[in-house]
């Protein structure tokens, strides 16, 4: 019973935070790309366009969902559902912090607790394989969407997507296998815990810096394959708009259309979380707490609060006089929470984990703003002729080094 209640609370929290993140990722993406291209980006709805995601969601929900007459109705409607289902389900096994312990407390004459819970919904023994399995199932949503639309462009998109996902799954799995050789566990929590500690006192034991075989190349291979698996530029061939109109989702409208975007962003978050857990040490800080890594978060948030306050004093727009101080107070509150000793062991791992995931997400958006799209034969040739052999060689060398040391 207690398990059910705690899980429901966690489920509601994670769902709320995750959905909001997905909506705001769209805003961040538009803003970052705009600034890369020396534009303003969304700026009309709310201060700095901050309410744009809300407006988008309302627009998409209230739009008419058109059901074209020539589609295979069942699969046409099932495809976006499948996409979102497989994209959201893998977030349930991502541990995004160490966990939280609530000591026993009295309320209304009864004693509750002590409660102790991990941050992830399910602590799966085969976590990393489960993520691979779910992501390998995720291709059905896109393939079916392309096929059931009964449209040449959509079909081409679906075909490209399934071929691309199968091809890039191989280098991705090989890149995942290499760090696992020295870590020796498939459980995401244990993988992150295994990367704790520092060599020479400062260099973290993250897989990309690990001693016998630094996994730098696996990290790069994993990220390249991740771009292909999430259908992002430079590998967004399934929806290449100047060849295929919009690819697999050309016949979709309103919420069914939006659900493909939701699935794409959810997959991005999942892939970045996996990269963080496997290669960047999960929630292990960049340098030891003895050298003050615990003060990074309060300083960053206090700095953000100070900047907000400063701009609030000297507003560029009429509303900034109200909104910026509010944000400043929120940031100061967060900074205080991060420096408050009882919450530090809960919030610090979360800060480092989410910070790394956020950085990787920024890299995804940055690359989208920078690189042009590949040609389709280049994409396939790159996967099979370059990425796969390199990943294989990397796995062999890692295995050799790990065997040599142990």
């Amino acid at each position: 019973m207690e398990f059910l209640i705690i899980t429901s609370i966690k489920l509601a929290l994670i769902l709320f935070v995750f959905m909001t993140t997905l909506a705001y990722l769209q805003w961040v993406e538009r803003k970052v790309i705009a600034h890369v291209q020396v534009r303003m980006g969304p700026s009309r709805v709310g201060p700095h366009g901050l309410l744009q995601p809300l407006a988008d969601v309302i627009k998409l929900i209230t739009k008419e969902g058109v059901l074209p007459p020539h589609v295979n109705t069942f699969y046409y409607l099932a495809a976006p559902f499948l996409s979102v289902f497989f994209a959201l389900i893998s977030i349930s096994i991502i541990p995004f912090g160490t966990g939280v312990e609530i000591p026993a407390f009295h309320m209304g004459g009864a004693t509750y607790g002590p409660y102790k819970t991990m941050f992830e919904l399910a602590d799966a023994n085969m976590g990393i394989l489960l993520v691979l399995a779910i992501s390998s199932m995720g291709v059905y949503g896109i393939a079916l969407a392309g096929w059931s639309s009964n449209n040449k462009y959509a079909l081409m998109g679906g075909l490209r997507s399934s071929a691309q996902m199968i091809s890039y799954e191989l280098p991705m799995s090989l890149a995942i296998a290499a760090p696992l050789l020295s870590i020796g566990s498939l459980n995401l929590r244990q993988i992150s815990d295994a990367q704790a500690g520092y060599s020479l006192g400062v260099i973290p034991h993250w897989a990309i810096f690990a001693f016998p075989a630094p996994q730098f190349f696996s990290f790069i291979i994993f990220m390249i394959a991740a771009f292909a698996e999430t259908n992002r530029i430079p590998f967004d061939l399934p929806e290449a708009e100047n060849e295929l109109v919009a690819g697999f989702h050309v016949e979709y409208s309103s919420m069914t259309f939006a659900s493909f975007f939701m699935a794409e962003y959810a997959n991005m978050v999942t892939v970045c979380s996996i990269a963080t857990l496997l290669f960047l040490g999960g929630w292990q800080p960049l340098w030891p707490a003895a050298y003050g890594s615990n003060f990074v978060a309060p300083l960053i948030f206090a700095g953000a609060g100070a900047i907000c306050m400063l701009h609030g004093m000297n507003p560029a727009r009429p509303f900034d006089r109200i909104t910026l101080p509010v944000f400043g107070v929120i940031f100061f509150g967060l900074a205080g929470l991060m420096a408050f000793p009882p919450t530090v062991p809960i919030l610090m791992p979360m800060f480092w984990f989410l910070g790394k995931v956020g950085f990787l997400l920024f890299v995804f958006i940055w690359i989208r703003a920078t690189l042009p799209r590949f040609r389709y034969d280049q994409l396939m040739g790159f996967a099979w002729k370059f990425l796969f052999p390199v990943a294989l060689a990397n796995l062999l060398i890692t295995g050799f080094l790990v065997a040599l040391v142990s």
Binding site: A133, S136, A143
Partner: protein, 170 residues
Amino acid sequence: MDLFFFLLFAFIAVACAVSVVLQKHPISCALSLVGTMASLAVLYLLLGAEFIAMVQVIVYAGAIMVLFVFVIMLLNAGEESSKGRSWIAKIAGLPALAALLGILGYAMLTFYPMVGPKASLVHFGDFTGGGAKEIGTALFTEYLLPFEVTSILILIAILGAIVLARKEID
């Protein structure tokens, strides 16, 4: 709880398997097969074979069935027509199926008593040797020869595929 999930997913597996045969459209057949594979993976998981369950999903439901769907989409195969079945199949189909199931069931119960009603009951959670470590140890010690033979077989299949594909290019 375990029994409930076992019955549920066993039912889904059988229903999807029947659907593979009965569906008219190749895509529906392929997706029903995906359903069977996925529910088999859940059954493995219930029996404690975690690694096999995950590999079942990754390899069968993920990779192989995606290839099936890919080929069906590429050929744009339409609905199969129900005409043109011989009258023998129409008359003797169901009785022959029943007879085959009967013979298979009898043979299994006779030659493999461990699966019959006299066998000791399977308890969920008894088997714990399903992790990656145990599987790896078993593969590289006890089953080394079958493992190596299988890898050679796969190598031959890859070579065969390359030879067949090259003929098309020349």
